[in-house]
């Protein structure tokens, strides 16, 4: 039986990796992947606590999260294509029109 702490630690590492990816990478696709990493870190937590507390609700939530993530990726990729058409680049630094 693997202790709950291991799962939570793994989840934290994955979440933090995703967060750093979102903050420091310039490529929008990588940022989108990093966001997926953060989502999946939470999924790990859901599953781990579900098993630990014998509550099936956590696993149900994971399915919801996966579904939403899939939809979100579809929308995100569509936006990236639109951005690429507009500026011929997907470097996030180039998209800073909404400022003072």
């Amino acid at each position: 039986m693997i202790p709950l702490t291991y799962y939570v630690t793994l989840s934290a590492i994955v979440f933090f990796t995703g967060l750093v990816g979102v903050l420091i990478r310039r490529n929008i696709i990588i940022i989108l992947l990093s966001v997926e990493l953060m989502l999946n870190a939470t999924n790990i937590n859901f599953v781990a606590f579900s098993q630990s507390f014998h509550n099936i609700a956590g696993q149900v939530f994971v399915f919801f999260a996966l579904t939403v993530a899939a939809a979100e990726v579809a929308v995100g990729l569509a936006i990236i294509i639109a951005l690429h058409r507009a500026k011929n680049t997907i470097n996030v630094d180039e998209f800073q029109l909404l400022k003072w």
Partner: protein, 630 residues
Amino acid sequence: MTYELIPLFPLASFLILGIFGHWIKDKAHFVAVPAVVLSWCISILAFADVADGHHSTFRMYTWLTSGMLDVHIGVTIDRLTAVMLLLVTTVSALVHVYTIGYMQGEPGYARFFSYIALFTFSMLMLVLADNFLQLFVFWEAVGLCSYLLIGHWYDRPSACAAATKAFIVNRIGDFGFILGLLLVFTTFDSLDYATVFANVGRETAKTINVLEPLGGSFEVSSLTVICLLLFMGAIGKSAQVPLHVWLPDAMEGPTPISALIHAATMVTAGVFMVARLAPLYDTSPAAMAVVAVVGAMTMVLGATIALTQTDIKRVVAYSTMSQLGYMIMACGLGAYDAGMYHLLTHGAFKALLFLGCGSVIIALHHEQDMRRMGGLKDRLPITYWTFVVGALALSGFPLTAGFFSKDELLVSAWTSGPLGQVLAVFGLLTALLTAFYSFRLVFVTFWGPSHVDSHHAAHVHEPSPTMTVPLIILAVLSIAAGYFGIPEFLSPMFEQGGERDHGGGAIVIKLFATAMGILGIGGAYYVYVLNPGLPDRLAQRWRTAYEWSLHKWYVDEAYDRSIVRPTFAAASELWKRVDVAVIDGAVNGVARAIAWGAWFLRLVQSGQTQHYALGMALGAVVILTLLMVI
């Protein structure tokens, strides 16, 4: 009772002309004149009723009731109000008719009629009041009408300035009046004349420490304080020294207004008020002495200034001031009936003189300077003869109304005591001056060679009958008013009325007064007709006296230096230091601070998505940390 209709007719006329004046325009007199004539008819009925011995007081409307305070609009009809009603409605009706001719073709024709109707209403309500608050409200209302009418030609800066001056100077007096009103209420717990007069005897011992706010101790009878404060209102309204400065400037208004408001009715409100409140004034010898002395000072001052003025209306204005001084002095000496008698006869002959001036002014195309008149008696015979009647009455020439009332007044003053005797001597001297300046006016305007502007000289002619008929009626009244036995009619109103003895001294005073009048007329004839160069030589000889009279004793200049300019300077400083620096500075400063703050804050909004993401992450960390720590 139909007496409430007396003021309501002019009110209706005011409302109709005020609302529909734009469409009625030059037919305004078809509304205004019948209304005031109806009031006049009912006033006659009221007078007849009072003469039969009926006194009535009734309430028209309860205005407000709060604890002890019970204010209502009431009507009281007794001998005093009956004669005032007759005076106000008669003069008002004649002035209404006169205005038809005088204001013909003026752009503000309907507006003018609506204002004089409002004035007539307010003055009648003032006279009919049966409580102090109603007196005060309409006291202010007549002041407002005076302001509106002085400023009738509002496109003239001088008219606006005169209107503002009249209003502000009156405010000063009215401030005292309000304080007096409050003191009446705190002393008597009532504002009704009847209640106050009934309780006057109980309150004579009450005193007030007038130096209390300053920490001193000076006990004064509260009735004296009440009387003096109320008299402050009369000083303003009746143009007494030292608040007389507004009356001559008020001559900027159209001449019918000068006749109605600034000669016959509104300015006499102060005299009427003192007479109305006679039971109150009788309890305070100190206040009475002040009233008498102020009146006497005004009487002398006005007459000395009138000697040298060159504006025809201003001469009459200063004469009005002087005659008001006579009336106030008489009231102050306890001779209320004599004061009221002079008020009534003066109302007739002074209205006549003003309307006569108006007729001359119209004939000369709005020329008011006496030095550019002369030789008008053949061109304007009706105006001339009626004017002479007015001047004779003003001089106290035998058998005119002014003769009877001035004699009555001086005799009453003489018999009232030592103070009265001193003031009566001044009264006699003033009578001499009065006769002199009245006939200076007649001789310079109507006699001698013509100095009329050659453009107008050919067109000088008598005005229309709407203007001459009121002159003739007033001329008749200026003589007849002496034969109605007005003082005998009024004296039952006043306790001291019957006690005066008209013995040996009285005859001497009467002879003196008559002699003074005739001497004054003769003097004017000698100076202005027989020796045309003499006035200038006299002016050279007594240069200082002439200058003081010509410059109205420098009262306006003194006020200008001591009050007006410091006020302007203080206001200007306040404007620069407080308004601009503090208030505008605060408002603009807040706006500027917000602009700077916004400039710094908007740097946060970089447009970089990752900066926002970092903000979110840090925010989440901070919130989580807080949750865990707490």
